[in-house]
């Protein structure tokens, strides 16, 4: 691990100012991902600005019935928050499906959003990886990629990347149309969840649209008003990253889909909001056939690799199964 200076700040603004002056510095939240990456030599900050207790660790009511989640709220507390459990069960379930009890106690909401891919070519500095070392190649493309992306990858050129985003929580937030509140050197701004994470495109090094020195201070959840659910499929029963996961919410009126939200985890470089499937479902009968057709429409864009084509039927089945469960009794 590279040597670094450890700094605490009095408030978020001074933390932002501190980091703005340190091009190779980083914010430290719970550390569950950053410290890991520093040990691996993947992250090499020369300054750590500790923000774990700078931002709010509270979940607060918003006037519209939504919730504002402080960036420092530990994942465990957020999952257990009664309002989240009652109004946004998809978020509670996503959090509980992630990592382990110990990690959820330490990891923060803001940090969870910004965690980096667990692609083993990325986390091993002796391997080619365009995300870690642009232009070095993508080891996973022709290598071991059973658990890599099937949607939205960059499959050629110097930004080739087939990594997935590892967060469960972020998948739920994508489905919930969350808004990320960010404090930067130029002041505050709001980033819709759909615009926070990015596909590798022509620059695989950037996971998000945040700029250096920008600090996530809170996450706003607009009211949902629909039953919701998170379902994660993984290689073992617990404590593993998703093969494919789904965050879903749906409202049915008179047997017809009135509103629906769908997002996938484990299939792309970012939480994959399935807008094509949503569009295909709105106004359609809430039937297994509609659900399957919508899933197929979304997944038609999939470009699976040699060894991960199973994710396509798995994602399809998850859509159908989860929507059937959510609409049981309303169909």
């Amino acid at each position: 691990m590279r040597e670094f200076r450890y700094e605490r700040a009095a408030d978020p603004a001074s933390a932002v100012a501190l980091l703005a002056a340190e091009p190779e510095g980083a914010f430290l939240g719970g550390g569950t991902n950053l410290v890991d990456l520093m040990k691996l030599g993947v992250a090499t900050p020369d300054v750590l600005v500790d923000v774990r207790r700078l931002t709010s660790a509270e979940v607060a009511e918003l006037p519209d019935g939504g919730l504002r989640i402080g960036a420092a709220v530990p994942n465990a507390d957020l999952a257990a928050d009664r309002r989240v459990r009652e109004r946004f069960p998809v978020l509670s379930q996503a959090l509980l499906a992630g990592a382990s009890g110990q990690l959820r106690n330490r990891a923060t909401t803001g940090g969870n959003l910004l965690q980096r891919t667990r692609c083993s070519y990325f986390t091993d500095v002796t391997r080619p990886c365009n995300k870690r070392s642009p232009g070095s190649g993508c080891g996973a493309l022709q290598g071991v990629h059973r658990n890599h992306a099937v949607l939205g990858q960059t499959l050629e050129g110097p930004a080739t990347c087939v990594a997935t985003h590892p967060s469960d929580m972020a998948v739920a937030l994508a489905a919930l149309d969350a808004v990320i509140r960010v404090l930067g050197p130029d002041g505050e701004r709001e980033v819709p969840m759909a615009e926070l994470h990015r596909l590798p495109g022509d620059d695989a090094t950037r996971d998000t649209t945040l700029r250096h020195g920008e600090l996530v201070t809170a996450i706003d959840l607009p009211p949902l008003g629909m039953p919701s659910r998170y379902r994660k499929v993984r290689d073992r029963a617990s404590f593993a990253f998703a093969l494919v996961s789904i965050a879903a919410a749906v409202r049915v009126a008179d047997g017809v889909v009135d509103d629906v939200r769908l997002a996938f985890g484990g299939v792309a470089h970012k939480p994959w909001r399935a807008t094509t499937a949503e569009d295909a479902l709105r106004g359609r009968p809430a039937t297994e056939e509609s659900f399957a057709a919508a899933a197929d429409a979304e997944l038609a864009a999939a470009t699976p690799l040699r060894d991960n084509a199973f994710k396509v039927p798995l994602a399809r089945n998850l859509v159908v199964r989860t929507l059937l469960q959510l609409t049981e009794g309303a169909r």
Binding site: M1, Y121, D124, G139, V233, R236, S238, N308, A309, R321
Partner: protein, 702 residues
């Protein structure tokens, strides 16, 4: 004199238990060497085969806190005769990816690890050759297999019998590379006092390690002491010396300080061995009633360029079922991989997956209950050695297990049971493991006040040996547990082979019993049966294998019954319940034995559903080299497990009738799971592990 049954068999609580639950039992790193400890970290090759062309340690050497950077250019020369990858830093040649090419010794672990990144290394390398296949032209027959087994066995006319059989199975099964991954990483702490070396070390048998250290550093016995009273799991990887012990001693010598080399989890995937992958073709021929006429089991597996490790994969097939025509073969490929080693039940574990899966396929072809098929093929005598069994209760295990599990009335058809979205199935497989005894020595000291000290270099790698050996000692001496002080895990103690091959209690326990007999004899002859006031010291030993080992075939047996549920939408697999029944001779400690059976079986479930190390065929490295990516079963993966054993009195295996139980639990377990998976889904997955992707592959959807 026979042993007293007072304590042997009782479920005595672990005597090392209180310290272990609090965390105060000192494992290797936790011993006190009496001075501050320096840290070793290593630079590893990033190529599989080649030669170092440049190695520049100057930047690392210049870092504050770095005491030394050892390279092939400056490392002390080691003695001749070290095998495999033990000649650490003795050459510029690279034989596998991950090989140690330089080592940093520093004041702290942070400094050592940071300095590793500052060592520049370049190589001239060959393309890696890491893919095992059955059509490689370089497959060869090793002279013999591990543990001295013959490479091949041929009886009768297998091809003719298969051609004439009413029903046949011809299937190929694959098991992946697996890693032992004890939770305590291999750790060696070394201190030199003049020309005497002390190594606090995580291993399965200090005497095993001492010999290589003597060779490496030109020492006499008595100049090396290896201390290992508590070991945080091993499963085979800590059986033999690996580069870590040699390097720790070398580094301590160079810097003149106590050093510790604690491997990282990632390094555990290349520096301390693994289980070879296997490709196994099994052919079975049977008559219409299910009596086997032919068994053929052909194994292809790998070894490294610098070692020959020939896993005895088909050897259980030589003992499990009767058939007049039979053949087993083993062929190896030398690949650019780290040296393989033993991993829990080497041979039996992968071999039984293939054989017991094939038996399930045969039962289906015949329309016979798979328990009944096995019963019909029960051999009267060892089918290849043609000697009687010292004891064999496989049929009783199958019958008892079937009853405990509720097997009766099972529908033979696959893929027809549903519970909501779960597909439900059940499966069975047999278990077997050889019962062996090895040479071991023991010293018993009777103190004038009625206390006894029993000394033997046995190991407790989690088996319960601390407790079981104390029980055996107390019984053998005719005293209570509290009167016995046991000392194990130290090479200064009387010789014993390591904990491995399920030989520990059989060998060490026998040595204790025989030595205690000599104690009694001396007390009776010289002291009128009373312990003299100034005490008594008696040495004894068990010379090696049982004197009956030639005339009898000696094995433990068992049977696993499992229920498996497969999510029809996702291919997720769950194991809600299982029954495992064993006939393994004398059970010394009912409490710790249950844990060993449970742990072995559960590791077999882990093998079936989760475990597999994946090599990148182009880059040549093991990709999933940590515990986030190399999946082992978590708590949530193991359901209700019913463990049971039968009373079995075997007068031939050893003084105590012990067959050894460290390994039998894992044998056959993966087959039972795979068979239940097939029964649930109608899909036969013949390559482990059975992960969700394989469900879709089997359905033709990916």
């Amino acid at each position: 004199m026979t042993t007293v049954d007072r304590l042997v068999g009782a479920g005595v609580e672990r005597i090392d238990g209180p310290a272990k639950v609090r965390g105060t039992a000192p494992y290797a790193y936790e011993q006190d060497p009496g001075e501050p400890i320096c840290s070793v970290a290593v630079v590893q090759s990033t190529v599989n085969r080649g030669r170092i062309t440049r190695l520049d340690p100057t930047a690392a050497e210049a870092m504050p806190g770095v005491l030394a950077v050892l390279t092939p250019a400056n490392a002390p020369r080691l003695g001749e005769g070290l095998a495999s990858d033990l000649p650490v830093l003795q050459s510029l040649d690279v034989h596998y990816q991950g090989q140690i090419v330089a080592a940093v010794v520093a004041e702290s672990s942070e400094i050592a690890k940071a300095a590793v990144g500052a060592v520049a290394v370049e190589y001239a390398a060959h393309e890696p050759d890491v893919v095992l296949s059955t059509d490689r032209p370089d497959l060869y027959a090793p002279p013999q297999l591990m543990a001295g087994y013959e490479t091949d066995s041929v009886i009768g006319d297998v091809e003719g019998a298969l051609a004439a059989a009413a029903v046949t199975v011809d299937a190929t099964y694959e098991t992946p590379t697996q890693h032992n991954n004890p939770i305590e990483m291999h750790t060696s702490m070394a201190r030199w006092d003049g020309d005497r070396l002390t190594l606090w070390d995580a291993n399965q048998g200090p005497h095993n390690i001492v010999n290589d250290l003597m060779t490496a550093f030109g020492l006499e016995r008595g100049q090396v002491r290896v201390i290992s009273p508590y070991v945080g799991g091993a499963f085979g990887s800590k059986a033999f010396t690996h580069p870590n012990q040699i390097l720790a001693a070398m580094a301590a010598k160079v810097v003149g300080r106590t050093v510790v080399f604690e491997l990282t989890r990632q390094q555990m995937f290349c520096l301390v061995g693994h289980r070879t992958p296997t490709i196994q073709r099994v052919r079975l021929g049977a008559d219409a009633e299910g009596r086997l006429t032919a068994i053929s089991h052909e194994v292809v597996e790998h070894t490294s360029r610098i070692s020959e490790f020939a896993e005895q994969t088909a050897t259980p097939t030589r003992v499990l079922y009767a058939a007049p025509h039979r053949r087993t073969t083993h062929r190896l490929a030398r690949l650019d991989v780290p040296p393989p080693t033993i991993m829990r039940a080497p041979g039996e574990t992968p071999g039984m997956f293939a054989l017991e899966s094939a038996m399930d396929e045969l039962a289906h072809s015949l329309g016979i209950d798979p328990v009944e098929l096995r019963v019909r093929n029960e051999p009267e005598r060892d089918p290849e050695r043609d000697v009687p069994w010292s004891s064999r209760n496989l049929v009783a295990c199958l019958r008892t297990g079937a009853e405990r599990f509720g097997w009766a009335g099972r529908d033979l058809r696959p893929g027809v049971r549903e519970d909501g979205r779960w597909l439900v199935g059940t499966g069975v497989a047999a278990a077997t493991y050889p019962a062996r005894r090895r040479k071991a020595e023991c010293r018993i000291t009777g103190h004038g006040d009625g206390r006894w000290t029993v000394e033997i270099d046995g190991s407790d790698i989690g088996t319960g040996a601390w407790t079981a050996l104390t029980q055996i000692s107390a019984d053998a001496l005719g005293v209570g547990l509290g009167a016995v002080e046991l000392r194990i895990g130290d090479s200064d103690l009387p010789f014993a082979g390591g904990a491995g091959g399920s030989t520990g209690l059989a060998s060490w326990g026998s040595a204790i019993v025989l030595t205690a007999r000599e104690v009694r004899r001396q007390l009776d002859e010289r002291y009128g049966g009373q312990l003299p006031a100034d005490g008594i010291v008696v040495k004894g030993e068990v010379p090696g294998p049982s004197p009956h080992a030639e005339q009898y075939s000696m094995h433990a047996f068992g049977a696993h019954f499992v229920e498996v549920r497969v999510d029809r939408d996702t291919g997720e697999v769950r194991l809600p319940r299982a029954s495992s029944v064993y006939a393994a001779g004398t059970i010394v400690n009912a409490r710790t034995a249950r844990s060993q059976f449970l742990g072995g079986f559960s590791m077999g479930v882990s093998m079936a559903l989760h475990e597999g190390t994946i090599a990148d065929e182009r880059l040549g490295h093991y990709v999933n080299h940590d515990l986030a990516e190399y999946h082992v079963a978590t708590n949530a993966d193991i359901g209700d497990i019913d463990i049971h054993w039968l009373d079995e009195d075997d007068p031939y295996v050893n003084e105590l009738g012990i067959k050894g139980i460290g390994e039998i639990g894992i044998t056959g377990a993966a087959a039972a799971v795979a068979n239940a998976y097939w029964h649930a889904t109608g899909l036969r997955v013949r390559d482990l592990p059975i992960t969700p992707d394989k469900y879709f592959r089997a359905l033709g959807q990916g």
